[in-house]
């Protein structure tokens, strides 16, 4: 019998046949299944390093774009109503246009990502509060037309009364449109998403505020830049703070928010948000700087959504994020029971 073992990394413990030590306790202890886990067995075991859960089949830019544009639209609708009521008509027009375009792009992303886009309307067969995607579909069905009518009326000046009603309706539903996607991602078995269910809605709300403020600064009149500046800067700073808090609280499960593709997006997003907030604050007397700040905040907000998306993909892909916390939970509940078989080779059972 040869001691060599065929693993995915090639042949291990290769030994010429004539030197094979029959049944001898030679060589290192073999990892089960020939795998080479990155974390010691004591804390984490897997089946050939394969993921436990099936990762999302959602694609970029469809789904992160759907989060971002939906968030932008919802917060912009709320900003539009407040701008209307306070007589900031220029800002209101920009916000309404932004929300109509945003919700259109959001729906486009959602439908395009379906395996059967032609069956999108099946979303409206039932209403299920247990499915954030069902709730969201109904929300978008009500919100989309309202935002579109509000924008149409603001741009053309036609039907002002219907436009005002639509603006109010869109503002009422907008914050929900901005935040329901947080429930959508956290209501999954993806560890980096699910375990963040307390922070994610607030992260998405702050990110939506930053993007709406950014849009108002970028495209709104300079004479009405105060409102979007305050909204954008507060949103951006809150987004950075909540993002960091979330990552820290998650511990090991939060790793994908600071490592790999997700980490790069999150960190890059932070930089854009910080720079955008600084430029917006400094741009009080220099309109060009304020517009640049708005654009930076928009990019930063989008990067956060991409970061959350990519972190979830990475978290689903690595079994350690699924196994280690569950194993820990189990150990706390029933210590040393049902543990992976280990111990020295040849440890005979009674």
């Amino acid at each position: 019998m040869s001691e060599s073992e065929v693993t995915r990394e090639g042949i291990q413990h290769r030994r010429p046949g004539r030197e094979a030590l029959t049944g001898a306790r030679s060589g290192g202890r073999r990892r089960r299944g020939g795998e080479r886990p990155v974390v010691p067995d004591a804390t984490f075991t897997s089946y050939y390093g394969k993921p436990i859960i099936n990762g999302p089949v959602w694609n970029s830019p469809d789904i992160p774009g759907y989060f971002f544009t939906g968030g932008l639209a919802g917060a912009s609708s709320a900003m539009a109503l407040v701008a209307d009521l306070s007589g900031r008509t220029g800002l209101a027009k920009v916000a309404k246009t932004g929300s109509a375009v945003g919700v259109f792009l959001s729906l486009l992303g959602l439908v395009h990502d379906l395996g059967r886009p032609g069956r999108f309307l099946n979303m409206l067969r039932v209403f299920k509060v247990t499915s954030p995607m069902s709730v969201g579909s109904w929300l978008l069905t009500a919100y989309g037309p309202a935002a579109t009518v509000a924008a149409g009326s603001a741009v053309t000046g036609l039907l002002p009364r219907i436009g005002a009603t639509a603006t109010a309706g869109a503002a009422l539903l907008g914050p929900g449109v901005s935040t329901y996607t947080a429930a959508l991602v956290t209501d999954t078995a993806v560890p980096a998403w699910h375990d963040a269910y307390r922070e994610m809605p607030f992260l998405f709300a702050a990110s939506s505020a930053a993007s709406a403020g950014g849009l108002g600064l970028l495209a709104g009149p300079s004479s009405e830049a105060g409102l979007p500046r305050r909204l954008g800067v507060t949103g951006a700073l809150a987004e950075i703070a909540i993002g960091r808090f979330m990552e820290k609280r998650l511990g090991m499960v939060g790793e994908p928010y600071s490592q790999g593709k997700g980490g790069r997006y999150m960190k890059g997003g932070e930089k854009f948000l910080a720079a955008g907030a600084a430029a917006a604050a400094a741009g009080r007397r220099r309109p060009v700087l304020a517009r640049i700040g708005g654009a930076l905040m928009l990019v930063g907000s989008a990067m956060t959504r991409w970061g959350v998306f990519e972190a979830g993909m990475a978290s689903a892909d690595d079994p350690k994020y699924t196994v280690a916390p569950q194993r820990e939970r189990l150990e706390t509940r029933q210590p040393r029971d049902h543990r992976p078989a280990e111990g020295p080779r040849g440890e005979a059972q009674p």
């Binding site: 049944g23 050939y48 959508l184 809605p201």
Partner: protein, 331 residues
């Protein structure tokens, strides 16, 4: 969160599943007069890794071929469950003895190569296990190798995440308490896929819709057992009424413990676990994660009321942020 939200029966049933304990899932899903809950008990201690279940499942359900590759993962070239693989046999090689069995690979203290340096003059009494010299009949220590095999399948959870999150109602609970996808309704949104804590359901490439084990709904509806159970030559896969299977499994695990197989444990049998108990449960010989199963799965929708609460608070905060931004200078 109210359980009579909008008075919708679909909603109420789904929420009942989340909030209630071990009540029958078929009853909660609106099946008034239904048969007993059916399921699988997969006893991996008698699995021989023949993969007849995989083949029978593919053939009966007309599942498409989904790639042929050699993975190097022992005899497992199927890798895992997915849209086109509803039974998957896992193979795990371990340096660990199985109690009461002699694997035949341990020849110490006197193996043929230990004996070889002594040449042809090795006294027969020292060469107990050389190929040419019969042993004394005493097998000595148990062997130092074991091969675990286990046929994985959809768990048909009591609290099924895939069913809860499906926005189209394509996923439904049958009268047998199992969970199936209605192919003519599914629009391929893919939400069920990351929602499943076991990684069972997946999207079929080139089709776009999600597919998974139906517990052979077409066969069980007419009183036949599912194809995999029918094909299993060792009765490792046992199909039947869930209550009866749970009793049988308990007896089996006790029997194995008595015989010294202390590693044997049931998985997914407990109605008190994070998914309310599985309709398809297992007897394993090692920790679940060794087989690629989550050690302590929890249905994600368990936390949904808290999620909606946080979403609501966040939406209100966003309103507060926007309203607060009015205060201050105009420009």
């Amino acid at each position: 969160m109210s359980r009579t939200f909008l008075g919708s029966p679909v909603t109420r049933a789904s929420l009942d599943e989340v909030t209630h304990g071990d009540t029958d899932p078929a009853t909660l899903s609106g099946h008034a007069d239904h048969p007993a809950r059916m399921g699988f008990f997969t006893d991996t201690s008698v699995c021989i890794g023949c993969k007849a279940c995989e083949v029978a499942c593919k053939e009966w359900n007309k599942l498409p071929e989904d790639g042929i590759a050699l993975t190097g993962m022992s005899y497992d070239n199927t890798v895992g469950l997915g849209a086109d693989t509803w039974r998957h046999v896992a193979f795990i090689e371990q340096r660990k003895p199985i109690a009461g069995q002699f694997s035949g690979v341990a020849h110490e203290p006197v193996g043929p190569l230990h004996a070889a340096p002594k040449g042809s003059g090795t006294p027969p009494e020292e060469a107990t296990v050389t190929p040419t010299t019969p042993g004394t009949g005493d097998a000595g220590e148990p062997g130092d190798l074991r091969w675990l095999m286990s046929s994985d399948v959809c768990k048909h959870c009591t609290h099924a995440a895939c069913l809860d999150v499906c926005p189209t109602g394509a996923l439904v609970r049958t009268e047998f308490g199992t969970v199936i996808v209605q192919e003519d309704v599914c629009n391929g949104c893919g939400y069920c896929i990351p929602a499943c804590p076991y990684g069972v359901i997946d999207q079929r490439e080139g089709d776009g819709r999600a597919f998974k084990c139906t517990l052979c709904y077409d066969r069980t509806s007419v009183g036949a057992e599912p194809a995999c159970a029918k094909a299993c030559p060792t009765d490792s896969i046992q199909f039947g009424e869930l209550d009866e299977l749970r009793e049988r499994a308990q007896r089996r695990v006790e029997q194995l413990h008595e015989n010294g197989v202390t590693d044997a444990r049931l998985y997914g049998h407990d109605p008190g676990d994070g998914v309310g108990g599985d309709g398809a449960f297992f007897l394993l010989l090692d920790a679940p994660e060794v087989y690629g199963l989550p050690p302590d799965p929890v249905v994600p929708t368990r936390d949904l009321p808290a999620m909606w609460k946080h979403v609501g608070l966040a939406a209100v905060s966003l309103v507060g942020l926007v309203v607060g931004s009015v205060l201050g200078r105009r420009a």
